[in-house]
């Protein structure tokens, strides 16, 4: 990693580096002056400053503004031009005959999104845990070319959601590979994105395909942390393999499982991009997710309803916050 300065200068990377290094040297002059002024210990604040600036500008201020947006109405973007409506946005959002029936709600799209997201997340988390557990266990067995197989399951994690969605859209389309297979086996072509149930199925499937590798890695790390002598001891006791799995592996892996479950929940609730590119939320609103609702309410509808979008994202934020607390609690238990 570290090269001597002479070789560094010769490489192409070195060529790019030189102006950058000169810039850094230039920064040293004012930095030295500041250090002389405030002392070396307080330089910590200087180093922290840019990051905090970014955090406050793009996280803390927006957090507050979000709440301001959610209690104001109108189509204006600037808070000062927006009339105060109190809890009006929330009341509108929650104006439902029955929370279980989106059709009874005034803002039925939001509730459809909630229902879809809930369904999506439920299926996705269960299947995700199951498949990543199986995969992790298999990858942890004494198999040949383990590195290769691990890479196989992992690589979709790095693909962009757009690429993932387009790849599958191409396979699932009317004249796609899958339908070719079905007709070759004597079946009828299926229009996957016209049937609401199929659309939801593939949304879940594709998102598991894309993210399974990540969760598998977490579980694999957990499996590898289980001392091998436990299994040797179990073998000495003539424990059948399934029993060793049930009584040794699962309990010791449980903390990692909890992390996987909670992380998958958090990601699931925020699902947007793959599904959006794959199905566009359709057919109709069959795969419309909450985040897509927020995005469309704020940015792509004719009337940009920032207030309603903000109110919806505050609701989403509360849900995520609860889940994150659960994650922290889980990871603390893991550390303990």
């Amino acid at each position: 990693m570290a090269t001597s300065p002479s070789t560094e200068r010769r490489t192409a990377a070195g060529l790019l580096w030189t102006p950058f290094a000169a810039l850094i040297k230039l920064i040293d002059l004012p930095m030295r002056a500041v250090q002389r002024l405030i002392g070396e210990r307080r330089m910590a604040y200087v180093f922290l400053l840019p990051n905090l600036l970014f955090f406050s500008l793009f996280v803390f201020v927006p957090l507050i503004v979000n709440v301001v947006f959610s209690v104001t109405g109108g189509a204006a973007l600037f808070p000062s031009e927006r009339p105060f409506v109190g809890t009006g946005q929330y009341a509108y959002l929650f104006d439902c005959g029955s929370f279980l029936d989106p059709n009874s709600c005034r803002e039925d799209h939001f509730w459809r999104g909630v229902a879809n997201t809930a369904r999506f997340t439920l299926f996705q988390v269960v299947a995700m845990v199951l498949f990543s557990l199986v995969t992790a266990v298999v990858l942890n067995m004494r198999i040949k070319a383990r590195g290769f197989f691990r890479a196989v399951y992992f690589f979709p994690v790095l693909l962009s959601p757009v690429v993932v969605a387009l790849t599958w859209k191409w396979i699932l389309q009317r004249d796609g590979l899958l339908n070719a297979g079905i007709t070759a086996l004597g079946g009828e072509r299926i229009l996957f994105f016209v049937d609401p149930s199929w659309a939801m199925f593939w949304a879940v499937f594709v998102s598991i395909w894309a993210h399974m590798g990540f969760y598998t890695l977490i579980l694999l790390a957990g499996l590898q942390a289980i001392p091998a002598d436990l299994y040797e001891a179990a073998e000495m006791d003539a424990t059948p393999r399934w029993r060793a799995f049930w009584c040794i592996t699962l309990p010791l892996l449980w903390p990692n499982m909890v992390v996987v479950i909670v992380l998958a929940l958090i990601k699931g609730v925020q699902t947007f991009d793959e599904v959006f590119v794959l199905t566009g939320g359709g057919p109709g609103t069959a795969t419309l997710m909450v985040v897509q609702y927020i995005y469309e309410t704020a940015f792509s509808n004719q009337v940009q309803n920032f207030g309603l979008a903000a109110a919806a994202s505050v609701v989403l934020g509360v849900v995520l916050f609860t889940l994150t607390l659960a994650q922290l609690a889980a990871s603390r238990r893991k550390d303990a």
Partner: protein, 358 residues
């Protein structure tokens, strides 16, 4: 080169005070060693001088100028760390040049200084290497070289030899002594090893519990320890320290059976007062037939050829070590009488302070 004055230095971490008012003057060109058991505050004191720790109260002056509030980078001192703290990503050359670059020196000047130091430390062949590719002794020399090139006002050494094996430690110790003779800089050296202290120092500062126990030349400390702590700490093997009572003018009784030993101490102490009688193993002689002395039973004999050690016991006394020149025919279980020459005796009062000699 410079002289250093510490006055009333204290250091607290939260509510615990680790340095309790240290006063010290280090002369220009002097080699001063801080020695003491671990936790005595010697390293903290060095770091305070370096500017790596802020002083809680008191003043540090270099050449009469108060530097107590100056950061480390502006004190003009150089330090050799126990871990060497070589920059692992820089070559030996870069390691030594780094400080010079920071000082804004011109490249040819830097080059000349680095090469001179490298020659002095036999590092010329290793200048392009990374610290990882060096042996322990070579790393050690780079760390020293990094200090030398700076031409600092004062060299600070924080246990620089403790990561070397025994043989290399002796060799490097000698080199350091030679280096001091050659450079003549003011050096402050921290160690827990009293042999290093004795061999290197112009003056030794013995520290314990954040206080200076004694300051003096190595032989001062050896010949006239101020107190029990210094007596026990300086000298190897340790001085024998025997609990005793004043039994009369010029005599003390030691041990359970109250063997009487003559001392030359003019004590303002009344008979019956508790004292500690100290004598170094090398100063004890075996009594010739009929000579008076202390009788002990030999528990163990170590024969090193050129010298022999007898370890003996007497009722109510800690183990007594005797060093004899040459070889001895005594063996385990023998009863011998030992002579404690008055000229080499040390007597400490109940508070552990050395009593005046006649």
């Amino acid at each position: 080169m410079a002289q250093l004055t510490l006055s009333g230095i204290t250091k607290s971490f939260g509510t615990t005070t680790v340095i309790h008012g240290v006063d010290l003057k280090v002369e220009d060109g002097e080699f001063v060693v801080f020695v003491g058991p671990s936790g005595c505050g010697k390293s903290t004191l060095l770091r305070i001088i370096a500017g790596l720790e802020e002083v809680t109260s008191g003043m540090i002056a270099i050449d009469g100028e108060d530097v107590s509030r100056l950061p480390a980078s502006e004190r003009g001192l150089a330090m050799v760390f126990q871990s060497y703290a070589l920059y692992p990503h820089m070559s030996v050359y870069k390691n030594m040049a780094f400080a010079l670059e920071n000082m804004g020196l011109k490249t040819p000047d830097i080059d000349q200084r680095v090469r001179r130091a490298a020659t002095m430390l036999r590092l010329t062949d290793y200048l392009d290497r990374k610290p990882k590719a060096l042996s322990g002794g070579q790393r050690q020399r780079v760390a020293i070289g990094r200090a030398i090139v700076r031409d600092p006002k004062i060299f600070l050494f924080d246990e620089p030899l403790s990561n070397l094996d025994a043989e290399l430690r002796v060799a490097t110790r000698k080199e350091l002594a030679g280096l001091h003779a050659e450079l003549g800089g003011t050096m402050i050296y921290v160690t827990h090893d009293q042999v290093e202290a004795m061999t290197l120092a112009d003056r030794i500062v013995v520290l314990q519990g954040g206080r200076i126990e004694q300051i003096g030349t190595p032989l001062d400390l050896y010949n006239a320890p101020d107190n029990l702590f210094v007596a026990g700490f300086i000298g190897s093997p340790r001085m024998n320290l025997l609990p005793a009572r004043i039994s009369g003018p010029g005599t003390v009784a030691v041990g359970e059976d109250g063997q009487v030993v003559e001392t030359g101490i003019v004590a303002p102490l009344k008979p019956g007062a508790t004292v500690t009688l100290g004598i170094r193993p090398e100063h004890i002689a075996l009594a010739k037939n009929g000579e008076a002395g202390l009788t002990m039973t030999i528990d163990l004999v170590e024969r090193l050829g050129g010298e022999s050690y007898l370890y003996g016991s007497a009722p109510g006394l800690p183990q007594i070590t005797v060093r004899l020149d040459g070889q001895t025919s005594h063996g385990r279980g023998d009863s011998v009488t030992i002579r404690l020459p008055i000229a080499h005796q040390h007597v400490f009062n109940e508070a552990g302070k050395a009593m005046g000699r006649q």
